[in-house]
Chain length 354, copies 2
Amino acid sequence: MKKIAIFPGDGIGPEIVDAARLVLDAVDQAAGLNLQCTDGLVGGAALDATDDPLPEASLQLAMAADAVILGAVGGPRWDGLPPAKRPEQGLLRLRKNLDLFANLRPAQIFPQLLSASPLRPELVRDVDILVVRELTGDIYFGQPRAVELVDGKRRAYNTMVYDEDEIRRIAHVAFKAAQGRRKQLCSVDKANVLETTRLWREVVTELAAEYPDVHLTHMYVDNAAMQLIRAPSQFDVLLTGNMFGDILSDEASQLTGSIGMLPSASLGEGRGMYEPIHGSAPDIAGQDKANPLATILSVAMMLRHSLGAEQWAQRVEKAVQKVLDDGLRTADIAAAGEAVVGTRAMGQAVVKAL
Amino acid sequence: MKKIAIFPGDGIGPEIVDAARLVLDAVDQAAGLNLQCTDGLVGGAALDATDDPLPEASLQLAMAADAVILGAVGGPRWDGLPPAKRPEQGLLRLRKNLDLFANLRPAQIFPQLLSASPLRPELVRDVDILVVRELTGDIYFGQPRAVELVDGKRRAYNTMVYDEDEIRRIAHVAFKAAQGRRKQLCSVDKANVLETTRLWREVVTELAAEYPDVHLTHMYVDNAAMQLIRAPSQFDVLLTGNMFGDILSDEASQLTGSIGMLPSASLGEGRGMYEPIHGSAPDIAGQDKANPLATILSVAMMLRHSLGAEQWAQRVEKAVQKVLDDGLRTADIAAAGEAVVGTRAMGQAVVKAL
Ligand SMILES: CC(C)[C@H](C(=O)O)[C@@H](O)C(=O)O
Ligand SMILES: CC(C)[C@H](C(=O)O)[C@@H](O)C(=O)O
């Protein structure tokens, strides 16, 4: 028996998670996985109910689970709240408390959706990038941090910090991922300016000897932001710290033009958390318009990384390709004139294609 | 009489600066500006000659000047050197010592070069963005910073820091720039995670009352990295800190597909420094292949911002448009099959078009 904690979250979260549940249930029955799924509250939904974006009960639920599925958190309703009371804090505390240090964010072109890319088709046709982003360190969590009054003047600071163990464990993840792919690893830093990323480059370079089959390169973050647009198919695996990865993984995903399609996994030593990379889209919430495929592909990543069911992961991925081949489109990925299906119908179609 | 300090720097620096000199000399004579130009060493060239990327004589030369022209610094020859002995340090120390806190980086489409953009033409046709990047603060210069050994383990950190005065002075520059343009100002931060950028957002918001004609919005840095690709023409002026601006201004410039065309200005209370945004391109150095137009357009920015010669700035900019209209192309901006001119010939053509 495996325990799955499900946090639908805010906005379109509940709908896309419900559609993904259809797929998960179908796989569970067909494969005899014997999953025990329990829902919990996080983000704005948790704030409304308990005044805390990650109530103790939710944290316990996640800690006791083998894997976590998350919809999306946040929305304008909670934007005015103080920092500790923001939906995002629920997400950041989940990552930190579960020690989910490795964020895997694939940015992959779906050939059926090539025309959705803002880039010229010849530049993106072959794009298949995996961003491996460190997720529990860096300036996100570094101490000290504060807004202070110094001689009556406001002053604020944060600390970017990494130690060699933190760098090493995420670099291992990236090297291994590259071994299973095209064996190209590009590590991103700003080693010409920042000590923290100079250590980053040093430690990553040291590990290269353990992975002689992987070709390691280094790139400054400003150049990486350019190269992702200029010639994105040069990249296989991109390894980044938490802050640079936040920026570059969003940039990379936008290259595909279909961020409603892109899943993510956040892995630690034990359990993993799986979520679409898109946000909670409050403007279309509750209207059966949202694209559930990123969440469904996140379920595939869960089958692969947390449930040891690689074959079923591939079957879900193939089912998604099939519904795209069949011309099914939610509004976000429909070209002008194409017929549109709803969130639930898309989930059902994937189940059928399984 | 106005004093101009010229630092050709490394790689293609000397060639592009020589071509720009042709234009500057022509304007000087025609407009009777009475310029006194003096060359100095910075970057790798200075390291080779004096073992210091910014020798005291160069700093004095820059301090005594009304404006500084810089070619480009850096190259693989100096990559192995320790941090304090890197060409980039010359640049960073110039910025800091001259208090050049406002970096203006226009990312503009040249209609003649539309097909060079990696983006679909309909998305970039109207792109005309000015990135206003803070240049003397943030994690670039924040203290403390170090690589340390803690219990035998390496650990490194940097400090992101801003006080309200630093934020206010760069925000004023951005608001004023927006007033002279389309009156849209988008300030970039990561206020949902970083205290430093929460203060940033707070202070920028306070200033908005002084500029009622400017429409101020705020955007998280990860979203900005996406929106720049998804719909770049939504932006007029983008206001950023030093680190985020390093990344986003490079991304924005790449949208145009012609970074060999883009100038920049770094302004303080007094003098300004002007340089192309591209690098030193050591692979084509000394071959009369480099595109001097970004440096020539930087001269135009100098005429505008440091020499009070707006009309001559516009004449230089029009001359550049004219040579493009006439079909002159250096290798970097030539489409397949187009005839190519060299660095010096391009400079001469601009002089003729003046
Ligand atoms: C919501 C926010 C805190 C989060 C981050 O910055 O990590 C998001 O942008 C992401 O990338 O998952
Ligand atoms: C060379 C480097 C130190 C510099 C920076 O990071 O500011 C460069 O990337 C730039 O943007 O001018």
